[in-house]
């Protein structure tokens, strides 16, 4: 009886593994971006890339490049990609994780990314985890890497989320319970009727944030919704179902009733510094940020636009769609028009505000963002304050210029 993680790693290593075992396994995709690839190139030195077709490189973090120095680094990345014949994604194509969800991730795949939020791809049933530049270089050179098989924590979400409550609120509720190191070295395996009812995009918010509790991977079952998601991107053939066995061995279990989840917010400067939005209502904010690999997908923009339609944002509103595909869909659905009419600065797909390299906060400013981290200095200024919330809370708060419970908005 196996967890999803044990199933994938057993298949890959050709042995019957359980939590705690050390294995070496082939990977299906290794990717890195402008923050992690340059060091990986240094580490690679004269080593060759074993499987160029299994490597992707993305310019997303400082994109479009804001300086000469970064442009030179990105030029070096382009040259590297071209000379090795590996897939390269340009400024404006999107955030690495959204590109990988759309073009590469699939159930049972092993994915290594030079970015901590690589755990996102567990939303499609992949075993996906973030590593540093040396591990990325080693995986590029040898086609495989070593893993310690993680023990799993079962997170069972039951029921249906109320209106204007997002999977982001579910994760903030979860991290409030297990804290920033509650899942260190472990797999967070999400299941239950609440997960079955969630879209793949909403699941990707949960798996994206798994690292915020220290997890190695966050993973959901690969069900019919995963199949439909892959079909939407012309990759239906990559679908194979994947579920944990009944009676699989979990280190611990967390149960969350979807009906009882309320809008949640993470306060500066830690992701597990969580409170219900209701406790902070009325606090002034300067900037609202909609986007990121956590909540920059089409349904996130749709939820925000639904609230913002016909209103002006009192706070500065900045929008970074997660990918070119997301932006195109948002244009076609009229979402971008709604956001622009509300006063938003709509920026090209990329990491943007989240990492603070192409757009930064001022001293003493307060931001409410849909991203995944609110560490001190995260958005480019050590003297700024960052709150994290769902797209609905962000949209309602933008209009009011103050932290606002989206359920009360318009009442």
């Amino acid at each position: 009886m196996k967890t999803i993680s044990e199933k994938i790693l057993s298949t890959r290593s050709g042995t019957d593994v359980t939590g705690g075992d050390l294995i070496a396994a082939q990977v299906d995709l290794v990717f890195a971006h402008d923050g992690t690839l340059p060091l990986a190139i240094q580490q690679l030195g004269d080593l060759k890339i074993k499987y160029p077709e299994k490597v992707a490189v993305i310019c997303d973090h400082a994109s479009p490049s804001p300086s000469e120095r970064i442009s030179n680094v990105q030029a070096m990345m382009r040259k590297f990609a071209r000379s090795h014949g590996i897939d390269f994604y340009e400024n404006g194509d999107g955030i690495c994780h959204q590109i990988v969800l759309e073009k590469y991730a699939a159930p049972w795949k092993m994915i290594i990314g030079g970015d901590s939020h690589t755990c996102t791809h567990g939303a499609l049933g992949a075993f996906a985890t973030g590593m540093g530049s040396t591990d990325i270089a080693a995986t590029m050179a040898y086609g495989k890497t070593w893993f310690r098989v993680p023990e799993s924590i079962k997170v069972e979400v039951s029921g249906t989320l109320p209106e204007k409550i997002h999977s982001k609120d579910v994760f903030l509720e979860l991290i409030d319970r297990i804290k920033a190191d509650g899942a260190t070295y472990k797999a967070l395996e999400f299941s239950g009727t609440g997960i079955t009812k969630m879209s793949v995009e909403a699941r990707a918010t949960l798996t994206n944030m798994a690292i915020e509790s220290g997890a190695k991977v966050g993973v959901c079952p690969a069900d019919e919704k995963v199949k439909a998601y892959l079909q939407q991107y012309g990759r239906g053939g990559e679908f194979t179902p994947l579920y944990a066995d009944d009676g699989a061995n979990y280190e611990s279990e967390v149960h969350i009733k979807a009906e009882e989840v309320v809008p949640m917010i993470a306060k500066p400067h830690k992701v597990d510094n969580v409170a219900p939005v209701a406790d902070l209502e009325g606090e002034e904010i300067d900037q609202v940020c909609l986007g990121s690999c956590t909540n920059g997908r089409i349904e996130d923009l749709r939820a925000a636009a639904q609230i913002l339609r016909g209103h002006k944002s009192r706070a500065r509103l900045v929008v970074y769609p997660a990918s070119r595909d997301v932006l195109m869909r948002a244009i076609n659905e009229g979402i971008i028009g709604t956001l622009l009419s509300a006063g938003a600065a709509v920026c090209p797909p990329g990491c943007g505000f989240c990492i603070g390299r192409t757009i930064a906060l001022g001293d003493g400013e307060v931001a409410l963002s849909t991203q995944n981290r609110n560490y001190k200095g995260r958005m480019g200024n050590d003297n700024a304050f960052i709150y994290l919330s769902s797209p609905s809370t962000a949209a309602a708060s933008a209009i009011a210029g103050r932290i606002t419970d989206p359920r009360n908005f318009g009442k």
Binding site: L44, S133, D135, Y375, R378
Partner: protein, 171 residues
């Protein structure tokens, strides 16, 4: 490196994150780790870098979950570049732990170490015995032995050298 004697430069609290170690705003522009290192801990401890120059063998002690957050290898790289010989924490975040060994920076997990050790204490770390002698207080603590695989990576001077020596990963 079976034994080192070092002075505790700082005792950092739990959940000290990679953005605090090296801010994201610097890492895209600067590929020279020695120059990047000048910004180490800038947002929470601006005198840290200067203080590393005053000690012969500085060592960091920390609470649980040291190095949480980003996968940026620049975090252990800048600490190594400014002379940190070893980090002893109650626990480490997973990616930081791998990154540390991959670049040849030993990381040791020791229960309650942030409560038992103070800034300025002299420590003698015995990697073979798995013991930590606090020369200042005369206390001895034991720590989790470093896995053999990690010791071999350290001995080789990092993961890439290890793999070159062994011709890749063994199955």
């Amino acid at each position: 490196m079976t034994r080192i004697e070092a002075e505790v430069i700082r005792v950092f609290p739990r959940d000290t994150n990679t953005d605090e170690i090296i801010a994201g705003k610097y890492k895209y522009d600067e590929l020279d780790i020695n120059k990047l290192a000048m910004h180490v801990f800038e947002s929470i401890d601006p005198s840290f870098y200067a203080d590393t120059k005053k000690l012969k063998t500085p060592i960091i002690v920390a609470g649980a979950n040291f190095g949480c957050g980003s996968s940026r290898e620049q975090a252990p790289q800048v600490l190594k570049a400014c002379g940190i010989s070893c980090i002893i924490a109650e626990s480490f975040a997973r990616i930081f732990y791998r990154n540390g060994y991959n670049i040849g920076l030993p990381l040791i997990e020791c229960k309650d170490v942030s409560k038992r050790v103070s800034h300025g204490d002299r420590l003698r770390v015995d990697f073979d015995e798995g013991t930590l002698l606090n020369v200042t207080t005369h206390e001895v603590y034991s720590f989790k032995p470093i896995p053999i695989f990690m010791q071999e990576i350290l001995k080789a001077g990092g993961l890439i050298n290890y793999l070159k020596n062994f011709g890749g990963f063994t199955d």
